[in-house]
C-alpha cells in the first residue's frame, strides 16, 4: 500500500537532497567563516572578569557611569542598558589585579541608592576551567550518543546522527557568532540541550527507516527513506511546534537572564528539525545503507537457522 492511496501528501524529500546539501553547505560555510574570523563573544563565565547589573530609580546616565569608570582607570569596561533604561549592565575584562573586591569598589564609587541586582566575578583560572569542562561535557555527550546509536542501530546510523548533531551545533554557534550574542554557561547548556533534541528527532526518523526496511520487499533505499520521512513528518512538525511554543514563551517572558538560553534553543530546534529530515537521512544514504544491513548478521542468522 502506498502513501498516496492513503491520501497523505508525499513530498520528495530525498530527491531534493542536493538542494538541501547546498543550503546546508552555505549555512555551514557562513558559520565556520564567522567563527573563524570574529569568533564567539564569550561571556565572563569563560573569559573571566566582572559583571555588575544595577537598577536605577530613574533613567540611568550611561555617559556619566562610563566617565566615572574611565576616571578610575578601569580597563575594558562595557556599559549598556539591560532590558530597560533603568537597568545597567557593566562588564569589565579581567584587570591587572583580578579580585572580587573590584565590584564592591565600583558600586561604592557609583554612589548610594542603587539597587545591586547582580554581581558576577570569575577569576581567570576558573574561566579557563569552565571552558575546558564545557568542551569536555560536549565531547563526552557525543561519544555516549555515538556508542548508544551504534549499538541500537548500526554504525552508519551513528555517523548519520553525529553528522546531524555537528551540523546543528556549528550552525547554532554560527548564529551566535554572526549576531555577536554573548555566549555564557547557560547558552552552553542550551547547546547541549540542542544536541539532545536534534538527536531525539533523528532517532525517531531512523527508527522508522529501519522498520520500513524490514517490512517491505523493496530494496531501493531511497523510496524507503523518503516514505519514512513522510510518515514521521506530521510528528516532526507537531513536536517542533509545541517545543517552539514553550521556547517562545521563555524567550519573551522569561527575562533577560534566560533570553539567550531560549534564543539558542529556538535556533537549535529549527535547525534540528531541518537536519533530522535532510542531513541525517542524506548521510546514511550517502554511506550506502541497504536492506541487508538491517537484517540480523550472518552469524546470528545461522544461529536462528540452527534452531530445531
Amino acid at each position: 500500500m502506498s502513501l498516496r492511496s492513503l491520501n497523505i501528501p508525499v513530498i520528495d524529500f530525498v530527491g531534493k537532497r542536493k538542494i538541501a546539501l547546498i543550503f546546508s553547505a552555505i549555512l555551514l560555510i557562513a558559520s565556520i567563516a564567522s567563527l573563524g574570523l570574529q569568533g564567539l563573544k564569550f561571556g565572563i563565565d569563560f573569559t573571566g572578569g566582572t559583571l555588575i547589573e544595577l537598577g536605577y530609580e530613574k533613567t540611568a546616565d550611561l555617559e556619566n557611569i562610563r566617565t566615572k569608570l574611565a576616571e578610575a582607570q578601569y580597563e575594558g569596561a562595557n556599559v549598556q542598558y539591560f532590558g530597560s533604561d533603568t537597568e545597567v549592565l557593566i562588564q569589565l575584562e579581567p584587570q591587572a589585579t583580578s579580585s572580587a573586591k573590584l565590584s564592591s569598589s565600583i558600586i561604592r564609587m557609583l554612589g548610594d541608592g542603587i539597587d545591586v541586582r547582580r554581581v558576577e566575578f570569575v577569576g581567570p583560572k576558573v574561566g579557563e576551567e569552565l571552558t575546558n569542562d564545557g568542551g569536555l561535557a560536549m565531547l563526552y555527550a557525543l561519544i555516549g550518543i555515538l556508542i548508544y546509536v551504534a549499538f541500537r542501530f548500526e554504525y552508519r546510523f551513528a555517523l548519520g546522527s553525529i553528522a546531524a548533531i555537528v551540523h546543528d551545533v556549528i550552525i547554532t554557534l554560527g548564529v551566535f557568532s554572526i549576531l555577536q550574542i554573548e555566549f555564557d554557561l547557560t547558552v552552553l547548556a542550551a547547546i547541549l540541550a540542542v544536541i539532545g533534541y536534534s538527536l531525539n528527532d533523528t532517532i525517531v526518523v531512523f527508527d522508522r527507516i529501519r522498520e520500513n526496511f524490514l517490512a517491505t520487499r523493496h530494496v531501493e533505499p531511497e523510496p524507503i527513506v523518503n516514505e519514512a520521512l513522510n510518515q514521521t513528518l506530521s510528528r516532526t512538525i507537531m513536536t517542533s511546534l509545541t517545543t517552539l511554543l514553550v521556547l517562545l514563551a521563555l524567550f519573551y517572558l522569561g527575562g533577560e537572564v534566560i533570553n539567550s538560553f531560549a534564543g539558542a534553543l529556538i535556533v537549535g530546534v529549527v535547525i534540528g528539525t531541518y537536519s533530522s529530515i535532510y542531513v541525517a537521512s542524506s548521510m546514511i544514504l550517502a554511506l550506502g545503507i541497504s536492506k541487508e544491513d538491517m537484517l540480523p548478521s550472518e552469524k546470528e542468522k545461522k544461529e536462528i537457522d540452527a534452531r530445531p
Binding site: A141, G144, I145, N200
Partner: protein
Amino acid sequence: MNHYAAWKNVLIVFFLFILGLFALPNLYGSDLAIQISGSGNYDVSQRDLDKIKDTLSDNGVGFKSISLEDKNVLIRFNDSQTQLSSKAILKDSLTRNYVVALNLAPSIPQWLSGMGGKAMSLGLDLRGGVHFLLEVDMDAVTTMALDRYYNELRAELRKDKLYKKIRKEDNLLLVSFKSEALKNEAKKVIKNDLPDLVIAEGTEQELELGFEISATAQADAKLGALKQNITTLRNRVNELGVAEPIIQQQGTERIVVQLPGVQDTARAKEILGAVATIEFRMVDEKNDVQTAIQSGKTPTGSKIYKFKDGRPLLLKTNVITTGENIVDASSSMDENNQPSVSIVLDSSGGRSMLDTTKEFLGYRMAVVFIENQVETVMEDGVAVKKRTKTQDIINAATIQGTFSNRFQITGLDSAREATNLALLLRAGSLSAPVEIIEERTIGPSLGSDNIQKGLISVLVGFALVLIFMAWRYRVFGLVANLALTLNLITIISILSLIQATLTLPGIAGIVLTVGMAVDANVLIFERIKEEIRSSKNIQKAISLGYEKALLTIADANITTLIASIVLFSFGTGPIKGFAVTLTIGIITSMFTAIIVSRAIINLIYGGKKVEELAI
C-alpha cells in the same frame, strides 16, 4: 483489548496520589521569620524559647508564632518591618552563643510537614544571595609546614649535636654534617623520630642530606588547613547571621560558601576573605627611629613599623601576645566616643600582659594590625598569585596602669572597622590565606523578578501547549493534556522529595520537558492515526499505536537521557540545575505520557464498540 487490570489502575492512582501529596507543600507560601540557633556546640532549648518570647513581649513586638524546630527557634512575623526590628532587639539581648538570622519559613500545615512534606528549595538566583568560591593558598600552607619542620628538625638534631648547618632551599631542608658517621646517625634519628621527613632523591652527598616533607604529610597539612579554614569560615558566617548557609569543601583546595538572602555583600566579602590578626609589642624607646632609617641599620631586637599614615616607629621584636590568645572581642564606643574594641585574653595571654604592664609601666605599647592577602595578577598573560602582608600600627599608647586579660584598644578609623576587627578576632583566624576566585551575587529584587518571570513563562508556555494539543487531537489531546499536567506535578513532587534546589535554568529544564513530553504522546497519536488509515479495527489501532511508538519513544528518550546525565556529571552551576530537571522530566514523562495516558484512553474507549475516534 485495551483494558488494564483493576490492580494496575489502582496502582497508577495510588502512585499519582502519593506524588500529588508531596507536590502539595509547594502551594503554601512562606512566612517572614527569624531563626535563632546555637553557635558552636550550643543547642537551643525550650528554656531559650521562653526567654525569647518574654523579650519580645517585653518590647511589645507582635509575632505570628514561635516554635522550636530542629534545634532552632523559629519566630514567624506578619510583616518585614516587625521582622527587622525584632532582629535588632534579639541581637542586642541575646549573648553571642546564639546566631540570629532572617529567614523565610514555609507555612506548610502540620499534617503535611509531619509526613515529611517539604517545598522545593529555591536556588540563590531565585531567592537572592551570594555564592563564593574560595581557594586556599596551598603554597603558603607548604611554606608554613616547611617552617615548622625546619624547627623540629633542628631541635631533633641539636640534641646530639649531629648537624653543622641547616638551611631551607625551595621545598627542601638541606643539612650539612661534619662527618659521614654523624650523617648516618642523623638518618637513623630522623627515620625514627620525624617520619614525615624523607630524604629527597638525588640530594645525598658526602656530607650533606636534603629532606623533603613526605607526600602523605603534605597532603595531611593541606587537608588540615582546608578543614581549619572551613571551621573558621563557619564561625564568621555565624557571626554575620545567615540562615541556612552552605559551607562546603570542593575538591582538594577550594571551599564553596553560599549565603542566601545576604544583602550587604561587600561586608560578606571583607569578612570571609580576611586573614587578619593583631599583635601587641613594646615600643623601643631607647633608639631613635629616624637615625635607624637614615643609617639603614635597625638596632638588634627592634624593627621598623609604620602607622597607617606612614609615620614610622621602632618596635621590639618580642611579641607580648597575639590574636591567638584572644577569647572574646566586642566593639563599642569609648568615653571619648571613639570606636574601640574590648578584648578578653585567655590565661596565658593575660599572664604575659600582666607581667609586661607591671614591668613597663609608663612606657608605650603598640597594637599592630596584620593582614595577609593573596590576589591573582596577570603577568605577561599568565595568572600569578601575588601575596601581600600589611602590618600597620593602629595604636601606640602609654601604659597607665597594670592590667591583665581585659582591656580596650582604640585608634581604629571607623565604627565599621572596629566591628569587623572584633568579629574577626572572635571567629578565629584562617590557617592559610584564601582568595575569592568566583562570586555570583543575586540581589533580592532580581531574585523575585526571576521567580515571577520563570513562573509566568512556564504557565504561558504550558497553556499554549494545552490549547494546541486539544485543537489538534481533540479527545486524545485532552488526555495528553491531563498526562502533561500530571507530569508537571510529578516533576515538582520528585524535586521536593529529593530536596533538589530549583534554579532558573532548572525552570528552563522543566519548560523544555513540557515541550518534549508532548512528543511521546504525539508519536503515539500519529501512529494510531496511521493504523486507522490502513483500515485496521479501531481498538487494534489504539493498541498497535501504543505498541509501535513505545520502542521509538524509548530510543529517543534514552539518547536524550545520556546527554542530560553527561551534562549533570560534567556540568557545574547552572548546567547542573538544568540537567537535574531535564533528567527527572524525561523519566517522569515516560510514566505519564505512556502508562497514565494509556490508562485513561482505556477507560474511555477500552472494550467498547467504537465507530470513530476523536483524534
